[in-house]
Each structure stands twice: as structure tokens, then as C-alpha cells.
Symmetry: C2
Subunit: 341 residues, 2 copies
DNA sequence: ATGAAAGCGCTAACAA
DNA sequence: TTGTTAGCGCTTTCAT
């Protein structure tokens, strides 16, 4: 495969094909007004020259960049990379590229929301699991660029996600149905030390399910720790040191639950027998660890987010701007009736 | 935060600041020839208007797009997303955006290598863990765009990765040192059904270590399966059905090893006691599963890949074009002497 | 120190 | 059906 040193321009193709520049543009973009024979000839020349349009040049004219931006807090966490894969699935074949905007630290975010660089760079922005302030949310809209929210809502933007509160409540009802009354919860904070919207909703679902059964939630049964295995591990240790150890623990994510399981194991306690543990997400590790959890379709959320972006780009709006995907309780070995042998 | 409906152009800033367009360009790009007071005034106006340069327009002039492309086979696998995070770390603060090119299927690849779209889109291309054919490799170079190889080598391109062969050989020596003589290996195929270069190198390391000890590698001790837990699970089942069950199994990745562990558990065999299992990568699950493995610094590989790309963009070449990061044997519970109780 | 103007590679009128 | 031409929003000479 021999490829010329300088990328071929449309003018090169036109010269080689002995036609005008505009004819090449028409032929390559599949526009009418070019005889089929001519078009085929031009396409052949383009292929031969390994021609690729300059998105910069065409974008300057059309106002479209040919890219979709993705704003996410992390790229190496299971939820985010899985959703991103789903988004890629949806965009595959559309000819659109994916541009990453990582907003992990407060500084990243401030920079992003000051200059809003995506306005010039992308034709749509998909925001995955970023809980925005009201100010940040409003800064996103009003440019020509459609915004889609995945997992965390953005006022005025199409949304795809799950009902975190309902999922959590269902999980806690599973515990109360088993007979648990002393149920603790491990809340998780994000990189900036606060609770994200998913976390907040799941906690609300927990409270609601407890209230339904008139079960008390003493302050020492609500522990917070940084998201992740480490945090889950520490939080469980804190719970084990309380005067009245809970019989069940609800966590906001499988990673946290798995950290909790590790502490249990090290304390010679058996999950499911001595203490029940619930996760959330159905991470691939959950099956492995026999962890009861709430499954959510993550890749699907990304896929639908991508479709919404495509639709918004084409039609200017999204028919079904609110898609709430179902969650599913998965009962495995880490939850059982209290005191069961 | 009020942001104008139409993104401000440089002309808008110039008009508001009562200066010529070119002065704005100079001021915003920190070029000499603008009085400090004027420059500050202009920057203030730009901030006020939430101005962001159009990369398309500036790129058209300068030939630089302000983006780095990343070509990878997956984005939702641990290695790839972790390396990508490292690359992001390196690019943070450079003002460069990251553009994703996913080359999972053969069709994706063919499309990518036909039009080589990155030539116009990005200022550098980082290829993460893609084993290229000679033809593909040569197609990548020769444009003005520097190419960096992470994990899998590309002839002529700066490389960062590990010594897969040495890592694998070390792991197998660990097994032979424990006294194992009947050691099997599970090889992993990728999405296109073939062995990647890392896989090939690790297998070579396995063979070498076995030869050093003059240990035989009968064909039935070399099983191949699709990469992943499922594949590992199946491969281990195949090994357990052989006439002469091995006392140790070397795998090419932790995910595969964990699948193998699952089969062991279901067969009422205990890893480390009945059969030793070695992983590779030191995935976060490895610690959890008490899996012996070979640790490699993945995020660091991505980070260095990003730095190499930056250096190549700035200077045209990379000082240290070959960085081989060390691997580290981590002995955990799944490996022990054969026949030990 | 500042301004005017050419042009980067395309698309989209408008002409022929 | 094809060709000609005016910009898109910038950077970069070249004047001033």
C-alpha cells in the first residue's frame, strides 16, 4: 500500500480526474448532478490517491465537525467505559468520530465550562454520569449543539438511564422480605468528595424501602466512604465496629460491595450467613463473587444515548426524550435470611 | 452563566475590543507584538464572550488539528481503558483533545486503513495494543503525522510496552521452581480469531522456560480459546478432561485465569492445592481472587505513549523511542508446589 | 504595536 | 451535467 507523503486534497483528485473541484465534491458526497460514470471514475481516483476529506475544511463551510463529544468523569471505570462502548456501537457506521472530554477534577470541569470548547468541535455532546450544577447545566444548552444526558439527568436534555431509586428500593425490599431489620447502607463519594445524583437517588430508594417497613435507620448505619473497593472495605470495617452490628448491608455499587466482602472475609465472617451484602450494577465481578445485586443495562444506555445524539443532530429533536431502562434484582449467595445457617 | 446563542467568533471579540482581528489572534495565542495592557483587555473580552477558537478554522491554516488520535481494539476492556486513562493523563493540560478510533472488527480496520482518516483529523496517532500486518504498519507512516505504538510494536514507530516473553518466562519459571513438570498453557484468540503479538510473545516465553528445564509440552497441554473469562473457563474444562491432568496452568491474562478458576471451583478442585494457576496483568480482580500473576504497569504505558506523541509533535522525533517497562511476578495463593496440602 | 489582506480545503450557491 | 466563485474563521505575512 503506497500512500503519498502529503495527503491528497480535493484539488489533487480533481486534477487527476480531469474535472472541476465541485464535481469531485458532489461525487464524493453522493450528491446529484454527476453522471454515474463520472462519479465512479472520481471515486476510483480518490481511492487510488487514498484521499480523505479534511473535516476542518468541510466543517468550516457546513458548520458540522463530524464528531460527537463525550463528557465523562472517568474512562477507566467499568460503568463509563462500558457506556462509551455502547455509544461507539451506535455511532459505528455513521462516519462520526468520538471526541473525549474527561471532567474528573474540579479544575477540568471549570475549564470545560468556561470555554465550552465542544461548541466548535463537535456536533453533539453526550454527557455520561456527570452530575452538573444548575449553572453548568444551563451553560450547556443554547448553542446549536444538542446535548444528551446518560445516567445523570440534565434539565432540558434528552435522558437515558435507570430508575436508581426504584432499583435500590427493590434491593432493600429483598432484604426486608428475607427478614432483615437492622440494615445499614454504605454511601459512596466521588472524586470531589460529594454524592453524585445516582448515589443520592439510590440512598433515597434505600430510605423509602426502610420507611415502608417502618424500620429505623440509625445514623451509625449510614456510613460514607470514597467510591471503590477500598472505600467499601473501610466502610464495612466501620460497620463491624458498631455496638449493634447490622444483619445486612446495602451498597451503591458492586465495587464497593466487593470491598465490603473482603473485610468480612478477613473478619472470618461469611457473607450471606453472618451478614447479607447487596451490590448494585451487576458488574462482571458480581457473578464471580456470587454477589446479589441490581443489574442495569449499561452498554445499552450508552447505545441509546448515541442514538439520541444522532437523532437530535438530524432532526433537531428527540422523539422519545426520556428513556428509563429497567433494572433487575439478581439474588445470589451474599444475601440470605438473617441467622440462617 | 449567560452564554450567547451563536458561539462568538474572533471577529466578535475584535469588534468588542475595538482592535483588529489579527491583534486578537496574536493576543490569544500569546504571540509578541501586542502591548500587555491590550492583550489583557482582549483576553477579558474573550472570556466575557465565552470565546473558544474554532479548531477547524485555525487547523486549516496551521495544519494542526489540536487532537491526538487513539486506535484501539476495544474501549471497555481493562487494559485498553486503563492505558487510555494514562494517555489522557499525559495529554491533560496540553490543550489537545483525544479522538477515538476503534478497530474491533476486520471491517473497521479495512475502513480505517483505506482512507486513513487520521491524517486530516489528528496531529499524532497512538496505537494501543493493535497487532498490525506489515502492510497496515507501512500505511501508517509517511504522512506528517507521528505514530506511537503502545503494547504492540509497529516497525519504525516509537514503542512503549513490556517484555511479554520475559514476563511469561518468569512466571513459568516460578512454576517449575515450585516443582511443577506437567504445565499446560491456555492461549487466547482475539475478536478476529487470531493470536495478537502479546499473546504470541507470552507463548514464546512459556516455551522458552519449559525448554530451559527440558520439560515437554505435549499438544494437549496447549489449548486455545477466545480471550476472556468464558474462554478461560472452557479451556480449563478441556484440560481437566485430558488423560494426564496438568499440575499447573499458565494463562495469558488474568481474565482468562479467573475463568479457569471458576471451572476449578465447579469441579471441586482447589486452585493452588490441586492445580496451580498463573495469570498475567495484575488486574484489580487478581488481588481479590488471590491469583498469582505478572504485574505490568498499564496506565504508565498509556502515559508514556502520550508523552511520546507530544514529543514527536513538538520536535519531530522521540529521544528514547523504545521504552520497555518492567514486569513483576506476584505470588499469591493460586500457585504452590504440586501435591502440597 | 497594530492593521489589512491573502489563503488554508472545502461546500454551496450561481452560471453555463 | 458540469464549472466558477464566494466565503466559512482563522493564522500569517506584509504594510504601516
Amino acid at each position: 500500500m503506497t500512500v503519498p507523503r502529503r495527503p491528497a486534497t480535493m484539488a489533487d483528485v480533481a486534477a487527476r480526474a480531469q474535472v472541476a473541484l465541485s464535481t469531485v465534491s458532489r461525487a464524493l458526497n453522493g450528491r446529484p448532478g454527476v453522471s454515474p460514470a463520472q462519479a465512479e471514475r472520481i471515486r476510483a481516483v480518490a481511492r487510488e490517491l487514498h484521499y480523505a476529506v479534511s473535516p476542518a475544511a468541510s466543517g468550516l463551510v457546513t458548520g458540522r465537525s463530524g464528531a460527537v463529544g463525550v463528557l465523562l468523569p472517568h474512562i477507566d471505570q467499568w460503568f463509563h467505559s462500558t457506556a462509551l462502548a455502547g455509544l461507539e456501537d451506535a455511532l459505528r457506521g455513521s462516519g462520526l468520530d468520538v471526541l473525549l472530554y474527561r471532567a474528573e477534577s474540579a479544575a477540568d470541569r471549570a475549564a470545560f465550562f468556561q470555554s465550552l470548547p465542544f461548541r466548535r468541535r463537535v456536533d453533539a455532546l453526550v454527557v455520561i454520569a456527570v452530575s452538573l450544577t444548575a449553572e453548568e447545566s444551563s451553560a450547556l444548552s443554547g448553542h446549536g449543539v444538542p446535548v444528551v444526558a446518560v445516567s445523570s439527568r440534565i434539565p432540558g436534555a434528552p435522558f437515558v438511564g435507570i430508575d436508581d431509586g426504584a432499583g435500590a428500593a427493590g434491593a432493600v425490599r429483598h432484604l426486608t422480605n428475607l427478614g432483615h431489620r437492622r440494615i445499614a447502607v454504605i454511601r459512596s463519594t466521588n472524586a470531589t468528595g460529594s454524592f453524585g445524583s445516582a448515589s443520592t437517588s439510590r440512598f433515597a430508594g434505600f430510605r423509602q424501602a426502610m420507611e415502608e417497613r417502618k424500620l429505623p435507620v440509625p445514623p451509625e448505619y449510614v456510613v460514607s466512604a470514597p467510591w471503590g473497593m477500598e472505600g467499601g472495605s473501610e466502610a464495612m470495617a466501620a460497620l463491624l465496629s458498631s455496638a449493634d452490628i447490622p444483619t445486612a448491608v446495602f451498597t451503591e455499587s458492586d465495587e464497593v460491595a466487593i470491598g465490603a466482602l473482603r473485610t468480612l472475609r478477613r473478619s472470618n465472617l461469611v457473607a450471606g450467613r453472618d451478614i447479607s451484602v447487596m451490590g448494585f450494577d451487576n458488574h462482571s465481578m458480581a457473578d464471580l463473587m456470587d454477589l446479589s445485586t441490581v443489574a442495569q443495562p449499561v452498554r445499552e444506555q450508552g447505545r441509546i444515548g448515541g442514538q439520541m445524539a444522532l437523532e437530535a443532530m438530524e432532526t433537531g429533536s428527540v422523539e422519545q426524550p426520556e428513556t428509563v431502562l429497567p433494572t433487575r434484582l439478581i439474588v445470589r449467595g451474599t444475601t440470605a435470611a438473617p441467622g440462617a445457617e
